[in-house]
């Protein structure tokens, strides 16, 4: 589950829940996969995000998973494929999050022209994937598991309003 997916998910469908957003993240296994940076895509997607939720989600991933658990690197056709590059990027991610180099929870005004900023957003939005973990309803504490990268938000019969 990427952080862009998390930004869209809600537990409002649960009986008795008024808002159900955002879901809290507990990250157990995280994968960093390089994916092609598409500047137009990132520019257009930013206004659709709940920005604070996105920034906070990245912080939650950092604070809940054990850094030593970062798993495999994946390379797609668009990237140069030396293992060292991938490993370095992984270390950079850990360095970033370890040193609190987070995005501020106020979106900068001129993000459209700031390529470095857009790349940072791209990295957190599209390249961080929670493989195993949990999503937790903020009102009922109901736990929705994430396994093999797939969140399971199927409700039990008694949870349907």
């Amino acid at each position: 589950m990427k952080l862009l997916t998390h930004n869209l998910l809600s537990s409002k469908c649960l009986k008795g829940v008024k808002v159900g957003y955002p879901l809290r993240i507990v990250a157990k296994d995280v994968k960093i996969s390089e994916s092609e940076f598409n500047k137009e895509f990132v520019k257009k997607i930013i206004p659709k995000l709940d920005w604070k939720v996105f920034v906070n989600a990245a912080v939650q991933v950092r604070s809940t998973y054990d850094c030593t658990n970062v798993v495999t690197q994946e390379f797609n056709l668009y990237q140069s494929t030396t293992i060292l590059t991938g490993f370095t990027k992984c270390l950079f991610f850990l360095f970033q999050i370890g040193h609190g180099n987070d995005l501020s929870d106020e979106l900068i005004d001129d993000y459209e022209d700031d390529e470095e900023y857009l790349k940072k957003v791209h990295h957190l939005l599209m390249e961080v994937e929670i493989i195993n973990g949990e999503l937790i309803c903020p009102e009922t504490e109901r736990v929705f598991p994430i396994s093999s990268g797939i969140p399971n938000l199927l409700l039990n019969e008694n949870e349907v309003s």
Partner: protein
Amino acid sequence: MQITNDIMSLNEKNASTLESQHVHDVYENIASHFSETRQKPWPNVVKFLNKSRPGAIVLDVGCGNAKYFTNTTDIYQLGCDRSTQLAQICKNRNHQVFNCDCLQLPIRSNCVDLCISIAVLHHLATSDRRLKALKEINRVLAVGGQALVYVWAKEQCRNQNLSTYLKQSKVNNKHKPESLVESTKEFCVESIDVNLPIHTNRSNFIHNDLLVPWKLNQKKEQEKESETHLRYYHVFEECELKLLCEQINDCKVIDYYYDQGNWCVIFEKIKI
């Protein structure tokens, strides 16, 4: 055109039980075989998806094996499916997917730009549930966002032309369309004490609610006979899908057409 009197009416609990046994359990059992037979995207669905603009959030409700996902980086493609087996196939193809029921979409309102739901709603056993699924899709659409829904049509032969479904039978191609009538075997769904007709594959539909057999391909090593699973379907009459959409306040029907044995609607979320 009126809806016929052949309406099966179930309460919520029985509808849910029927779907659980004759839709959800079946797909979990047949997932990989099903996926093998569902590889070719339908052109009109692809045409709808090509309307997407850069940065679009595109949701596939009942995405199955990710048939309609592409490798583009211009848009964000997200799928959901009730079947954990099918969702896994989707994930193995590196797509974003989650498990949920189409009646309770765990997605915040007003955020999806394009949505498709292909061959899903005809597995819901009451018209209330089918309406609810359409309302859920409309709810998650952004104002101006559009959805495309395909459901199996009761009418498989229009204007003397056989649908692809009927044409797949060699027998059908020899006979005149009117003569393609199904024989009526019935199956008792014991858990809800309802009898449903079993459809003869590749024949015209007589009933609106029925069970369609799926013969599971067995591997050569297995000695027992191939299993047959019965999938529940509600097939739609000519105006039925459109009439359901028209019951939704903040939804406007943009297009309505028949495509190879399916009734298809494109609707848009509007501001009221």
